[in-house]
Amino acid sequence: MALGDDAYEEDPALPCGRTLSEVWEKAEETPDDPHAAGCPHCQEALTRLGVLDDYVREARDSTADEAAEAADAAATERLTARVMDLVRTELRPGRTLPLGEPADDVWITEAAAAKAFRAAAETLPAVYAGSCRVALTAPEGPMTVSMEVEAGLRWELPELAEQVRRRVRAAADEAVGVTVSAVDVRIVDLIDESGEEPA
């Protein structure tokens, strides 16, 4: 029995003994059921469901034509603009990390530092940076960077990790201005570059 008890008051038995829900579900699960094929009661119930299915198909198709797609694209643009306007009033910059010497009194947010490090890793071909945490090993530094990356199958893993480390260190020095004592690289996914994106 497929349905919860509360459904049965609304699930009448046909003269052949099967309930309506059984007939409809069997049609989905075992399309070539011999009983249903020869039973006029089952056939009548399936015809009624078929009528509904036709309308459903029409409704589905009505959102799949070119005009509908253009309207979807416009709606998505509108949606994205509205959402991002609100998001930008609720940013999460993360912790504030010291830049330079204590006397400098200059700082950088973790989000901004992570942006520089991710961008540096992504200068490598077929590399995408994900999570990137920047932590202080002592109150005044140095810092450690932990980064997750996805990369194309063209990469040998040790080579990829080494290249990412090198780019991140260079960015720490040239783009940010902090000392990074360790860069921990975790390769979370390898992407088949010819086909589908990873889930």
Binding site: L99, D105, V106, W107, A112, A116, A119, A175, V178
Partner: protein, 131 residues
């Protein structure tokens, strides 16, 4: 003069001075090479704080906040900004700090043209984005 009047009078002075300091600092910071734009401060970015600040009826300049310190005449400026790509965040932040200090000194030092009793100034610069 009653205590309330005194507080009000001093408040107004502080408010005017705050607006002036913020404008001076913002101009100096914006004109420093490598600054993409001044950004609403971290405090302003946290959800819920914007209406509170607005309700306080304080002069506001995006990305710059001036606050009087505990001692009279001492002020603290907090600047939040985005650094333009291709510039080093540390160098830009240091330069902004130096430019802001110099600009405020020029305008508000005891021997300067608009002395309003700024005896000491601390400037904190935070890079909040790279653009």
């Amino acid at each position: 003069m009653s205590g309330a009047q005194q507080a009000e009078g001093r408040g107004r002075t502080d408010r005017e001075l705050r607006a002036l300091l913020q404008r001076t600092a913002a101009d100096a910071a914006r004109n420093t090479p490598g600054v993409a734009y001044l950004r609403p401060g971290l405090g302003d970015l946290v959800r819920g704080t914007v209406p509170l600040l607005a309700a306080a009826d304080e002069p506001r300049v995006a990305g710059v906040r001036a606050e009087p310190d505990d001692e009279p005449g001492r002020w603290r400026l907090r600047i939040h900004l985005a650094v333009r790509r291709g510039h080093r965040a540390l160098d830009v932040a240091r330069a902004v700090r130096a430019e802001v200090l110099a600009a405020v000194r020029r305008a508000y030092a005891p021997e300067g043209p608009e002395h309003h009793g700024v005896a000491a100034l601390a400037v904190t610069v935070t890079v909040t984005d790279l653009a």
